[in-house]
C-alpha cells in the first residue's frame, strides 16, 4: 500500500567542492559564511576538511588533492546558494575575502540576489528574501 519511496528517510547532507588548497579555502568559507570546522581527513592522496553550518547543519566538504591537478568547475553544478538577512554586508565580506561579483545585485519577485565567483572559481548565489 504505502509507497516505499516516502517511508525512507533521505535528505541532503553535504556538498563537496574540490579546491586547490582546502586549508586556504576553509578561511574563505569560515570568515565569510560562518561555517565551522567539524572534522578533517588527512590522507595520502588528499586533504578533506568538513565544515558545517551552525544554523542548519548542512556540510560543506572541501577537498584538495596533494598532487595538484587543474581544476575545471564545468557547467553542470552550482551555484551553491546561501540565504541571508543582509545581502550587501555578506557580499562585501565575500569580495573583501577575494570573491568577485559576476551578476547583480538584482531583484526577482521580491528576492534580492547576487552571484559571486569564489577564489577557487565556484559559483555562489546569495539570496535575501522579503524583509529579511
Amino acid at each position: 500500500m504505502s509507497d516505499a519511496a516516502t517511508s525512507l528517510q533521505v535528505r541532503p547532507s553535504f556538498v563537496k567542492l574540490t579546491v586547490a588548497d582546502a586549508e586556504e579555502t576553509e578561511k574563505f568559507y569560515a570568515h565569510v559564511f560562518g561555517l565551522v570546522r567539524d572534522s578533517a581527513n588527512d590522507l595520502p592522496g588528499f586533504l578533506e576538511i568538513i565544515l558545517k553550518s551552525p544554523d542548519n547543519g548542512l556540510g560543506l566538504v572541501l577537498m584538495s588533492y596533494k598532487k595538484s591537478l587543474p581544476l575545471d568547475p564545468g557547467n553542470s553544478w552550482g551555484p551553491l546558494g546561501f540565504d541571508t538577512n543582509d545581502l550587501d554586508a555578506l557580499t562585501d565580506r565575500a569580495v573583501t575575502a577575494g570573491a568577485t561579483v559576476t551578476m547583480g545585485p538584482g531583484k526577482f519577485e521580491g528576492t534580492r540576489y547576487v552571484f559571486l565567483k569564489s577564489p577557487d572559481g565556484h559559483q555562489i548565489e546569495l539570496l535575501q528574501r522579503g524583509d529579511g
Binding site: L8, R11, P12, N56, G78, N85
Partner: protein, 130 residues
Amino acid sequence: MTETPTPRCDPGFVKLHVPDLEAAIGWFEAVFGWSHGQVLDLADFRQVALSAPGNPFDVILRCWKDGKPRDIGNGWGPLGVRTDNLEAVLGRALDRGAAVVKEPTSAGAVTFSIVQTPDGHEIELIQQGT
C-alpha cells in the same frame, strides 16, 4: 568601535544542471522521494526546487534552453545524501539508470556508496549505524 555584526547566513541550495528537467525530476522523486515545488519557466531556463521533508536545504534542478553541451568538470561533487536505508536507495538508483562509482563500504559506524546519476552528477549515499 562596534564591529559589524556577522550577517545571518544559511546554506540554502545547490543547483544541478540537467538536459531534461522532467526526466531528472522523475529520477529524484522515484529514488529519493523528494517532493518538488513549482516549475519556474523563464526565457533562458526551466528549474524546480526539490526538498526532503523537513529539510531546509534544497536541490534545484535547472535545464538551460541554450542546448549547449554540459560539462561535469571536476570541481563539484559529490552531493552527500543521508539515508536510513542505503541498500534500498542504492537499489532504486541503479534501477533508474545510475552507475556505481564506489560500492558500499563501511568505515566505522558509517556505510557509504557513491553513484553517478544518469545526468552525470555524483551522489554519495551515507548511512549512519545499521
